[in-house]
Structure formats: structure tokens, C-alpha cells
Symmetry: C3
Subunit: 209 residues, 3 copies
């Protein structure tokens, strides 16, 4: 794995970026600070919480790392007073978010491997960890989850990266970290999908509906 301190920094940046997306979502619904904090927490911690519940991991990662929800609370309070700050931040969120998606995907996949799950299940749990927080945030905001609608590839990057990570762990050459490969694949795949707007098409009963 990556060195612990680097891991913690990526994790913190990823939590800030995903929480910021949640806050932007909540402000658009004219929520108060309670809503900002809850939606931000759901986006930042929802995927990992689902994974921990599905795999029966205790304590939940945000209970074991209380500095993470504390950072989200501070961010929500600051945004309550200075919402334009978030809007300004928005343009800088893509990189830490994509990096965090890579990290969360690899961590979620590894936890499922640790629990002895078959590879297909591990890839699903990696994708849930990496990209399902936004689904819970959208549900709290009463929106059809954007993850399910045509938009630059998101869960697909997590899901593919999870497979690459498992293949690299199993068959990769000695001395190259599978974690680094997994995180980078998700990160670059996501950036490319956003850059060239790669989408899955909407499925319709009649073509051209």
C-alpha cells in the first residue's frame, strides 16, 4: 500500500472535495446548515458506510476517524456564512475528487477481498465505495441520482479500476504497487471521461425517443 501519511492526505482531500459537492447540491435546494452538513456527509461517507454495513465492518470508518465528519461540519458551517467560497472552489474539485474516487475504490475492493468475497462482488463493493455517496446525496435532495443518468463516466471508472487493481495484485510484477496502479487507473480514466465527455447512452424503449 501507499505510505500511511500520504494516504491520510489523499483521504482528507477526497473527503473535502466530495463534501463540497454535497454542499453545492444542498445549497441549490435552499437547505440550512443542518441540510448542508447531512448531505455533505452522505456524499463523503455514504459509499463507505454502505460498504461497511454490507461487509459488517465495525466500527464504521467515519466513527473510527471522527476528524473526517468534523472537517465536513467545519466546511458546512463556513459554507453557511460564505457560500460563494464553495462556488469558487467548484472549479478545483475535479482533481481531488477523482483522486479520492481512486483511493476509495482500491480501499473498498481490498476490504471485500479481505472478507473473502469473490472478485465480481469485490468490484461492486469497490464501485459502491468509490461512487455511491453521490447517490445517497441525490436521494436526500429528492433528485434522480445523477450517477444513473448519462454524464461523464463515474461508477464505470471505479468498477474498471477495481478489476485492474485485483489483476495487478494477483499477476502484477514484483515491486510495483497494485494500489498505486489501481488509484491511477481510476483517476486517469475519470479525468479522461470528464475531459472528452465520455458517457454511457440513456437506454430507451424506442431508438431516438
Amino acid at each position: 500500500m501507499l505510505p500511511m501519511s500520504l494516504l491520510s492526505i489523499i483521504e482528507l482531500l477526497a473527503v473535502i472535495a466530495t463534501a463540497a459537492y454535497g454542499i453545492l447540491l444542498a445549497v441549490r435546494k435552499e437547505m440550512d446548515v443542518v441540510g448542508l452538513f447531512t448531505v455533505a456527509s452522505a456524499v463523503a461517507f455514504g459509499g463507505g458506510t454502505l460498504r461497511d454495513l454490507f461487509l459488517d465492518r465495525q466500527p464504521l470508518f467515519w466513527i473510527a476517524n471522527p476528524h473526517l465528519p468534523l472537517v465536513v461540519l467545519v466546511l458546512a458551517l463556513v459554507s453557511g456564512f460564505l457560500p460563494w467560497l464553495l462556488k469558487w472552489m467548484e472549479r478545483y474539485l475535479l482533481l481531488p475528487d477523482a483522486l479520492g474516487m481512486g483511493l476509495f475504490t482500491v480501499v473498498g475492493t481490498q476490504y471485500a477481498l479481505d472478507a473473502g468475497s469473490p472478485w465480481f462482488i469485490c468490484a461492486i463493493l469497490g464501485a459502491i465505495t468509490g461512487s455511491f455517496g453521490g447517490v445517497i446525496g441525490d436521494i436526500l435532495c429528492n433528485e434522480v441520482p445523477s450517477l444513473f443518468r448519462p454524464a461523464p463516466l463515474n461508477a464505470t471508472c471505479s468498477f474498471s479500476g477495481a478489476w485492474i487493481y485485483m489483476l495487478a495484485s494477483e499477476f502484477g510484477p514484483q515491486g510495483i504497487s497494485a494500489s498505486v496502479i489501481g488509484v491511477l487507473v481510476v483517476f486517469l480514466f475519470r479525468l479522461a471521461a470528464v475531459r472528452w465527455n465520455v458517457q454511457l447512452p440513456a437506454v430507451r424503449f424506442q431508438p431516438g425517443d
Copy 2:
């Protein structure tokens, strides 16, 4: 209980039927294949997942049976290319769905009995297993759950069947399988409710509102 191989076949048919309902729901919302797979999984596995989480059963049944989500993924991918196939399938879904509702109800009720829960709780967990997948699917699609609105009886069939199953287990004559009775009661009750459009009325503050 029923013989294992017959059980597996009913289970597989039920997963396909419920997943197909989920895909139909997702296509109506113009989702992409990620949405189709997730909503289909939610409808097929949501009720059983809630039951497993509520009763702390590990591993979750779809993690222990990874061929089930794999079948759902294949169905979602095929539907992504041939959505009319699903629409054509729709007319044949009632029977496997009703049979699956019977099976899931009996299994869920028995798991709750195994956990030592009182009968009323067992009937609720049977009904959750048998009919709550659709609720989670509807929430993912940003719809008021159809299970809660007037429509042919659904959760009511599960809930009643769970009681019949428990009564038959406790007081039924030797040599008659309570499971078979439970599954059949739910199955026939559901078919009758659809055939004669038996509904619970909407509750209104003023009659005739």
C-alpha cells in the same frame, strides 16, 4: 423445505423477474446501464438486504450467491442493447414474480424465526423480504413507492402468507410442508389480487376528496 435444486430455480426466476421490473422502471427514467443495473439490483436484492441487515445475518445473501448479481448485470447489459426485449418480457413477469414473492416471504419469515424474533416481527420481516425491494427501486427512481399507493395487493399478500406459514409450521398436520403452503398462499393471493384488481383504498382526510 423444498428440495434444494427446485429452490434455486425458483430463486433464479424470481431474481430475473424482479430485476426485469427494476430495469423497466429505470428505462422509463432514461437511465444508462449503470442505473439499470443498480435499480434492478435494488428491486431484486433490496428486501433481502434490509432483512439481513436488520437481523445481522452475514454474509448478505447476494454476496454469498454472487451468481445472482451477475445474472442481473447480464440482464442489464442485454437490456441496454435490446430494451424492447424487456418490454416484450413484461407480460410474462407476473408468474415468476408472484412465485418469488412467495419464496422470499417464506425464507425471510424463517430467518426471523431462526433469530428468535416474535411472530409479529417475523411476519414484518417476511413482508419486507417479499415486497420491499420495489420500494428501494422506486426511491432510487425518485418516485413515491407504488407499494404504498392503491394497487393490487402486494405487501398484504406477503404479510398474510407469513402468518399462514408460521401457523402451518406450528399446527399443520405431519407430512405437509409448511413452506409449500406458505409459498402457494402468497402466490395465489397475489395472482388473485392482480386478476380481480383487489386494492386497499387510499386514506383521505375527507371521504370523497
Copy 3:
């Protein structure tokens, strides 16, 4: 703690009051009795269920206390026939609801303390137990959760009361029950917020939007 029998009475009143709010919500959506029971259960038990799942407490409190969902079922059935009864009850719901919010907050906070969680996490789990049932009820009704929108303070009362309870437990003078203080603080804070309509403002990108 408070004497057991008084605790049970407050708990029962709180479940009835929160379930009644859920039923009122469900009737506005023209649901049938299945919907009334489910939404009422979600509002009454949703916060405590999230807490039990997050802390891995087994069995869930409503499975261990099956008389509580039974009371909710009776209330839903009665409301199905006499919905005006609920509307008439509405004016009397504030007191038992606020008292229940106090009780649930203190119980949830204490359970998190028992699990060895840090104080900040305990306050969050107290607030989830005290006020998140309504969020799940709103989601089941396809509404933006009212807890996140400007309205008389709700989760804020729980969150503050949880801190007061922990401070009183740790530093309070001998012979004064921290539980009584915690419940009373939440109760009075909530009543005051409703009485004088104390709200958190909606956050907007532009002031005055």
C-alpha cells in the same frame, strides 16, 4: 437514569406521536394502510434503526420491543378508518414529540458512549436517534426532508442536548441526573424553537436570492 416504568411511558408516547406525524405525511400522499404503517414506522423507528446499524447493536430496538411496531400498526389501521382522528390529534402532538426527541437523544448519545465513540460522534448519533426518523419518512414520501429546510430548530436541539447531557454526566454535581437534564434541555429548547419560530436561515449563493 429515569425509573424504568416512566421511561417506558415516555417512549410509548413518543412512538405514538412520531408515528402520528408519519401517518399525517402518508395521508397527504394518498397512501393506503400499507403506506401509513410503513411511513409511520420509518418516522418512529428510522433514527434508532440507523443508530443501531451504525453502532452494530443487536437486536434492533423495535425487534427487541415488538409492542412498539404493534402500536404503530394499530394506529395505522385506526387512521385508515378514521383519518380525521389524526388530524384532530395533530394539535396535541408537539409535547409528546418534543419529550420523545429528548429521550431518544439521550438514549442514542449514551449508546454511542457505551460503544466507546468520541464525544463528537456521540452527539451526531444522539441527533440521528432524536431527529432522523422524519428524514426517512420524507424520503419514503418523495419529499425533500423538512429537517434540512428552514423550520423551527429540530436536529439542532438534539445535537445541543446531546452535548449538555455528556457535559452533565462528566462534570455535573452528584445527585443530579444527567439524563433528566439532557431530556429537559432538548424538550424545552424544541418547545422554545417552535413557540418563537427560531430557524436556521437557508443558505444561498447570492444573499437575497
